[in-house]
């Protein structure tokens, strides 16, 4: 398991390099990369985002991310998990987060990766502050992110 909170950028190729050491049991690798967009999601809010500052809670962040990876491994058959999240000042087009899962089967890899991303959005202690052409402001949490993670809870209840 590779869990990192860092200022530096990352390359997608680190995923293949890291999973290569896990041998030939792996049949499927899914990666998610989140990047800084230069527009807010809301259609009525078209201020240009010039930069993003990511603050986090050192220590708790790492333990929440590790727990998310463990949770995913307990729900699906995953050989390995990578989570890398950047902090500090980022610009449009910059990488923010990388989540990667390796499994024997593609549905496990897809589900594990999507579950980790959805859960990270609502439980990992990161906060974004945007520098826009109209000034700086803290990004508000989105109700849709809570809905996405609630789907996994419902699914879990059904499985039991």
């Amino acid at each position: 398991m590779l869990i990192k909170v860092q200022h530096e950028d990352f390359e997608l190729s680190l995923v293949s390099d890291y999973f290569k050491q896990c041998g030939t049991e792996i049949g499927a690798v899914v990666t998610f990369t989140g990047l800084v967009r230069d527009f807010q999601h809301q259609p009525d809010d078209k201020e240009r985002v010039e930069a993003l500052t990511l603050e986090h809670y050192p220590g708790m962040t790492e333990s929440v991310l590790t727990q998310l990876a463990e949770d995913a491994k307990s729900r699906w058959t995953l050989n390995e998990v990578v989570i890398i999240h950047r902090v500090g000042t980022l610009y449009p087009g910059d990488n923010i987060v990388l989540v990667a899962t390796a499994s024997a089967h593609r549905q496990d890899a897809f589900n594990g990766c999507q579950f980790i991303m959805d859960s990270l959005k609502t439980t990992a202690p990161f906060w974004k502050k945007e520098q826009t052409s109209h000034g700086a402001r803290w990004v508000d949490a989105k109700q849709s992110d809570q809905s996405e993670v609630d789907k996994w809870l419902t699914q879990s209840a059904k499985e039991c």
């Binding site: 990511l54 708790m60 333990s63 959005k121 906060w127």
Partner: protein, 81 residues
Amino acid sequence: MINVLFFAKYREQLNTDSLQLDADFSSVESLIDVLKTKGDTWQQVFSQSGLMVAVNQQMAKLNSALKDGDEVAFFPPVTGG
């Protein structure tokens, strides 16, 4: 002693990263009651509906118990990813 941390918007609004309190608090709620007395801004921040709290780096609730040496963190809803 309780170590209290503030993050993101709250850290800015309170103009405080962290503070140490020597008093004993039975729960997060009783700690908040004391923090609210520190001024109008503190009253406002700790009345916000989205307030999240962690005790010793684990998500906690308003009625979570506290003991000497605990680290308590207050922050708004998270927005990473």
